[in-house]
Structure formats: structure tokens, C-alpha cells
């Protein structure tokens, strides 16, 4: 913007070409300097944001276990009708493949991968791996493996192997929206008792929307009041908003447990006033989750609203009233539209933060109040099924981006209206 100051002074007699070149040089220098100044941030973002996101997306479709561990078996199953137990050659290939695994951890990885596909495959594979070496003619090997575990004669286990022969799979992503591939590779819905994640994603968005709504409802009057106060008073009150903001989430969750439990302060107070006879169920259900989340996220709504409201001149409202508008109409038609950027920024911030909530619903919610992050953590830490965890993460990421795009469109429309 202030490039003119760095342009070397050129005498008026100098040819115009030289001037243009000098200007271009200065412009290029300025650009490089700006780039050099932002480069550390760009590198930082690249390393801490883009690289992990790409790795996450890659893990969600990566499927190396079966292809690495059982190359011969996958080939032997080529052309199998996928209905009854495969030919003895497949058993022989399986025995050879298991025997050639470099390390027992490869067998463990294979067993884990197949077990996510069909429950029980873990003990089946590890059982065969521990019984190695299994040798002889293909018929003998088949007989030996069936004797070891009759489940080797069941088609579903072999189907899982045949299906996962390629290095990439859409299965995790399909599973994260309650779909799966059938034996023939056609996409179909999960059976009813395994249909969970679409509902959980919907629940995640519902809870976030309700939390955003209540945050706006509570924050708007407060921010408006703060913006009308003299600076000194406003600062003192702002500290009251910020103190909880700086307190650990766990501490605040624990405090809510103390307040909301059935013999807690809130229930005792209401019963003491004679408003209720039985304690209200305020904890370990949706109510508790929403109360605590609204409290935790409130500052993220107040701060953007306050900063926008500070910049709205109070004279506009007075002008509207003096021109004959009723105070209420003036507020909604003159003041509120000017705070749309604050509402938009606050709502987006609260909503996106709420989508990722995990600890608060885990501690204050019941089994049907858990949000998607809870299951991502579960698959990461408990089931150690990182493919599934990454697929759920990818779904959450995409859903958030879509939502952001929608917000941008609506936001633009509002701006053009104004």
C-alpha cells in the first residue's frame, strides 16, 4: 500500500521505461518481503494443518493389511464363486502366506483388519498363525485347518479376505454413513442393528444447533448492554465473562455436576421454593449436555457480538426513533441488521467448536447424547481401528466445510441486501 515510499526517486528527465522498471522492481521486492514475512506462518500451517488432514484422509481409504499379508491367498481366491468354502488351493495359499509373514505383528494387524470386517476373524487367524507350520498337499492343509477351527469352512471369512485384496477401500467411509458393500461389491445399507453413525452425525448437528441458538439468545442482550456501558464498567464486566473462559473445561463440568445433581443446589433451591416436588433430571441427559456446553461456549458468542456492537453508532437508533419509528421496530430494523456480521461470526464460531465437543457430553450425557468425536476417540484409543476413526473424522470435516460454504453463500446474500 505504501510502496511509493520505497520507490527510488527518479528524476523527471529519466526515460519512462526506466521509471516503469524501477516501479516493477520495487513492487517485486515488496511482494517478496511480504511473502518472506508470511512464510513461517504458511510453513507452520502446512505442517500442522494440511499434512495431518491429508494423512487423515489417506488413512480413511488405506487398506494395506490383507494385500501385504496374503498376496497368494488373494490370487487363489480370484474367480471363486464367493458362496461356499473355496478350493483347497486357497487353504494352501493361506498357510504359505501366514508362514511367510516376517513378524507376528503382521499377523496381528491382519487379524485386526479382518475382525473389523467380520467379528471372530481375529481368533480364527491368530489360531491358524499359532498352529504353523501347516504343510502337506492342499487337501491335507484344508483338512488340517478345518480340524483346527471348523469356521475355516464358512464362506463369510473368505469373503472378507477376497473383498479386501486391494490396497484402497471405500469401506471405512461407507461404514461412517451406515453403508457397506455386499458380497458382490454392490453398495447397500447396513443391517438395522449396525446403523449408528448417520444418526450420531445428525445428533451432533442438532446439539450444536441448539447450543448455538441458546448462546445467541443469552449473549445478544448481554453484549448489547455491555456495548452501551462506559468503558470502565464494561471492562470490569468483561472480566466476569472472561474468567470462566480461562478456567479448565473439566473444572467447569465438575462444577455443573455439583450444581445440577438431584440433591444439588438447583434442585434443592427449586424444591425449597415449592416449585417442584421431585428433583428434575438435569444431569446425564441432553439437558445437562446443553446447559454445560452453552456455558462453556458463551464467551465465543459474546466477544464477536460485543466488538461489532461497539462499532455501531448509537445515533442511528436515535435518528430512527426521532424520524417516527417505534423503539422496538427501530431496534429490529436499524440496529439488529448492523450486527449481522457479529451474529454470523459468533454463531459460526460456536457451532464449529460445538461440533467437535467430546469431554462435556462424555461426562454429562447419557448413552444417546454422545457426539461424533466420542466415537472417533473410541475407535482411536479403544478399538485401535484408525481407518474407521479417520473416516469418521473425514465425514465430520466434510460436513463442517459444506456448512461453512452454505454460511458464506447466505452471508454474501445478506451483504448484498444491505
Amino acid at each position: 500500500m505504501h510502496a511509493a515510499t520505497s520507490v527510488p526517486l527518479v528524476s523527471a528527465e529519466a526515460p519512462p521505461g526506466e521509471l516503469r522498471r524501477a516501479l516493477a522492481r520495487a513492487e517485486a521486492r515488496r511482494k517478496w518481503r511480504a511473502f518472506a514475512l508470511t512464510a513461517p506462518l504458511l510453513v507452520f500451517l502446512l505442517l500442522t494443518l494440511l499434512v495431518p488432514i491429508v494423512a487423515l484422509l489417506q488413512r480413511a481409504v488405506e487398506n494395506p493389511e490383507v494385500a501385504n499379508a496374503l498376496p497368494r491367498t488373494v490370487r487363489a481366491l480370484d474367480g471363486w464363486n464367493r458362496k461356499e468354502a473355496p478350493a483347497p488351493a486357497a487353504y494352501a495359499a493361506m498357510a504359505t502366506d501366514l508362514g511367510q509373514l516376517p513378524d507376528s505383528s503382521d499377523a496381528g494387524a491382519l487379524a485386526r483388519r479382518l475382525n473389523t470386517e467380520i467379528a471372530g476373524a481375529r481368533s480364527l487367524v491368530m489360531g491358524a498363525f499359532r498352529a504353523l507350520p501347516i504343510t502337506g498337499t492342499p487337501e491335507e492343509i484344508k483338512a488340517r485347518m478345518l480340524e483346527l477351527d471348523p469356521r475355516w469352512g464358512e464362506a463369510p471369512y473368505w469373503q472378507a479376505i477376497a473383498k479386501n485384496g486391494s490396497r484402497w477401500t471405500p469401506d471405512y467411509l461407507l461404514a461412517s454413513v451406515d453403508l457397506r458393500r455386499d458380497v458382490a461389491g454392490e453398495v447397500e445399507r447396513m443391517p438395522a442393528d449396525q446403523r449408528a453413525f448417520a444418526g450420531i452425525l445428525l445428533r451432533t448437528f442438532q446439539i450444536s444447533a441448539v447450543v448455538t441458538f441458546f448462546c445467541l439468545l443469552l449473549a445478544y442482550p448481554l453484549a448489547w448492554w455491555l456495548s452501551t456501558l462506559p468503558a470502565r464498567k464494561a471492562n470490569v464486566l468483561m472480566i466476569l465473562v472472561l474468567v470462566p473462559f480461562w478456567t479448565s473445561i473439566l473444572v467447569r463440568v465438575a462444577a455443573w455436576i455439583v450444581l445440577l445433581q438431584s440433591e444439588g443446589l438447583v434442585n434443592r433451591g427449586l424444591m425449597g421454593l415449592g416449585l417442584i416436588d421431585q428433583p428434575l433430571a438435569l444431569l446425564f441427559n441432553r439437558t445437562g449436555v446443553i446447559i454445560a456446553m452453552v456455558h462453556i461456549l458463551l464467551p465465543f458468542m459474546i466477544l464477536p457480538l460485543y466488538s461489532v456492537m461497539k462499532s455501531v453508532p448509537p445515533t442511528y437508533l436515535r435518528a430512527a426513533v426521532s424520524l417516527g419509528s417505534s423503539p422496538l421496530a427501530a431496534f429490529f430494523r436499524v440496529y439488529v441488521p448492523q450486527t449481522y456480521p457479529g451474529i454470523g461470526a459468533g454463531a459460526l464460531l460456536v457451532f464449529i467448536l460445538a461440533i467437535g465437543y467430546y469431554v462435556t457430553p462424555a461426562l454429562l450425557g447419557g448413552a444417546d447424547d454422545q457426539m461424533l468425536s466420542y466415537y472417533i476417540a473410541r475407535y482411536t484409543n479403544v478399538e485401535i481401528n484408525w481407518g474407521m476413526a479417520c473416516a469418521l473424522g473425514a465425514v465430520l470435516l466434510v460436513a463442517t466445510l459444506v456448512l461453512y460454504a452454505v454460511y458464506r453463500r447466505i452471508g454474501k446474500a445478506e451483504l448484498s441486501l444491505g
Binding site: G108, R122, Q370, R378, E383, I384
Partner: protein, 342 residues
């Protein structure tokens, strides 16, 4: 002369780490259990010259997996739950143990001896109630489901594990048959159906510290709970009672992550923790059963009465089936998530 001095200083500075006190990072689950381990194992072991650095975690195997995969293992000895001990061993996360350096296998409970992990203590998931508040004590798992006989909410762990077993026992399945029934499609359906009956009366807990707190606060009348948590609350003056029959007992194991830097010292620590005298001190500090059977002899009847391994308490108990949950766990937990949404 000056040169020699310099050489000596350099040599000394290189040799210094060898003289430094050896350290072991021992990872536990925190809380009352960590305090008992500190008294029984960490403090006495430090007198042998090795400093113990205790670290708390929440059982996240992802941390161990990440350390082993990146070959930057900073944990020496880790306490893990039984499914993780078995699975981690299969998947090569843990070192195979050399029992000649740990002790005589014959002294240990059979379930405590596995390839990669040695069982440190026995704990149990049981039914508990508040003796100060509840007049009619429960006499069966069917009572846990009977909200007419004992009105009020029930606390249960958020998840499928344990709850499906309890549901089947409440439905009349004998403890010995529970896993046989649960292994079939009809059995799993039956367990979920039974759980649905109780669904409106269940208050779910996430952390082990919550159920005793629910009982004390009067939020629930009956709850499933880890038995050591009840013991810890009673040590603080509460009168919480345990109903032992049908309890599901399990072991926690000590493992050494693959590639851990101080393997020899870690084995020495494990050997120390498996000695009967030290295990007896541990059981006196928290009501979890010793895995070295010789430790039981030195414990008083009062201590024994609260241990899951004592003969009266273990009589009608069910051993947690690690193999079953390793196979079926992921599918059942997902089904539980779907069930909760309905």
C-alpha cells in the same frame, strides 16, 4: 599436563550418565489404585536404587501404538487391561516376558501368566448400593432390573461390555453359560432386548469414579461399579455395600512396550511387584486381589472379605472372557451405539 586434564574431563563427562541414577517410567491408571501401587511397589522399589517416575494414563493404547511405531518408546512398564494385553501381544506392541526373571509361574494365578503381560491384580465389576439409604438389599441380578421391587435409577457403564453379561444373568442365564449364550446371534438379541427393558431407568457412567458418587448423591439406588472404588469410598466413611454373586472379575497386566529402553530394570521391577509380601501390602491399600497366591496367606480376614479373589466372593463370579470380547467387542460396541440411538 593440560591435555591430559582436558581428556580426563571429557572422559568423565561421557562416563557421567552411567553413574546417574537409573530411572523407570511406570504407567498406571491414576486414582486410589495408583496410590496403592505407590505404597506397595514404587516406594519400596526405589530403595533398591532405581527411581520410579509414575505416569498416569487412561488406557489409551493409541499412545503405546504410536510410540512403538515411531520407535520412540519412553514408557518402561505399563499397566493395561486384559483385552489390550492380549491384543497388543498379538499385534507386536509388547515384549515377550522371560518368566525365569519374574518368578515361579506355579505361584501365580493361571490367568495371570500370559506371553507378554503378567497379571498384577484381580478386580471385579459388581453391583453396589448405598447401605445408608436402601432398605431392601438386592438378592439377585433380576432385582437390578426390577424397578417395582427397588424403585429408582440404575447406574451402568456406558458401553456394551459387562452390561450384556449382566442382562443375560438377570434374564436367568447361569454365570457359567453367559458367554456361550452371548456368542450366538439369538443370545446377543436377548441381551439387548433385556437391556431395552431397563433403558428408561439407566443413568450411564463414563469414569470409574462416577458410580460411587451417584450412590452417595442419591442419583441412583443400584449401580454397576469397579469394586475398588467402593472400597475407596468406604475408607472415606461411606457405607456402600457390594452384591458379589454375578460379578465379572478380570485382571490388569504389567507389560513392557516393544523397544522400551530399560528392559532389564523393567523385569526387575515386575519381579519385585509379583512378590507375595509386596502384593499383600498392595491388597491392604486397595481391595483388589493379589495374583501371587502366596500373598493371600498373610492377609487378615477383614481384608479378605473385600477382595474379589476370596473364596466367598469368587464363588458365583464370572471370569471376563477376553477372547470373546477381542473377537466380538467392536461389533457389539457398535451395536450398542446403534441401540442407544433408537
Amino acid at each position: 599436563m593440560k591435555k591430559t586434564l582436558l581428556a580426563c574431563t571429557v572422559a568423565a563427562s561421557f562416563a557421567l550418565p552411567a553413574f546417574a541414577q537409573q530411572q523407570l517410567t511406570v504407567v498406571n491408571f491414576g486414582g486410589a489404585n495408583a496410590n496403592a501401587q505407590k505404597k506397595a511397589y514404587y516406594e519400596p522399589f526405589e530403595k533398591t536404587g532405581t527411581k520410579i517416575i509414575p505416569v498416569e494414563y487412561n488406557g489409551e493404547q493409541a499412545k503405546i501404538k504410536a510410540m512403538v511405531e515411531t520407535k520412540k518408546v519412553t514408557w518402561d512398564v505399563v499397566e493395561v487391561e486384559s483385552p489390550d494385553a492380549a491384543r497388543g501381544c498379538d499385534e507386536g506392541l509388547f515384549e515377550k516376558l522371560d518368566y525365569s526373571k519374574i518368578g515361579s509361574k506355579a505361584d501365580f494365578l493361571p490367568a495371570a501368566v500370559t506371553d507378554c503381560g503378567v497379571g498384577l491384580f484381580v478386580w471385579s465389576t459388581v453391583m453396589a448400593y448405598n447401605g445408608e439409604k436402601l432398605k431392601t438389599a438386592p438378592t439377585s441380578w433380576a432385582d437390578f432390573w426390577d424397578v417395582k421391587k427397588i424403585p429408582g435409577k440404575r447406574g451402568m457403564r456406558k458401553g456394551a461390555r459387562y452390561n450384556l453379561e449382566f442382562a443375560l444373568m438377570a434374564d436367568g442365564v447361569k454365570p457359567a453359560d453367559v458367554y456361550k449364550v452371548l456368542g450366538t446371534k439369538e443370545g446377543a438379541d436377548r441381551a439387548f432386548k433385556k437391556l431395552t427393558e431397563l433403558k428408561p431407568n439407566i443413568q450411564w457412567w463414563e469414569a470409574g469414579a462416577q458410580p460411587p458418587q451417584f450412590l452417595v448423591a442419591g442419583d441412583v439406588v443400584l449401580t454397576t461399579v469397579y469394586n475398588g472404588r467402593i472400597d475407596a469410598a468406604n475408607r472415606e466413611g461411606r457405607d456402600l455395600k457390594i452384591y458379589w454373586p454375578g460379578g465379572i472379575y478380570d485382571l490388569d497386566y504389567l507389560v513392557i512396550p516393544k523397544g522400551a529402553p530399560n528392559k532389564e530394570a523393567s523385569l526387575k521391577y515386575i519381579q519385585f511387584a509379583m512378590q507375595p509380601a509386596n502384593q499383600a501390602v498392595y491388597a491392604q491399600n486397595i481391595a483388589y486381589g493379589p495374583t501371587n497366591t502366596k500373598a493371600l496367606a498373610s492377609l487378615s480376614p477383614k481384608i479378605l472379605a473385600d477382595l474379589p479373589t476370596s473364596s466367598t466372593n469368587a464363588k458365583d463370579a464370572l471370569q471376563f472372557n477376553v477372547g470373546f470380547w477381542a473377537d466380538q467387542g467392536e461389533a457389539l460396541e457398535k451395536r450398542f451405539a446403534a441401540w442407544a440411538t433408537q
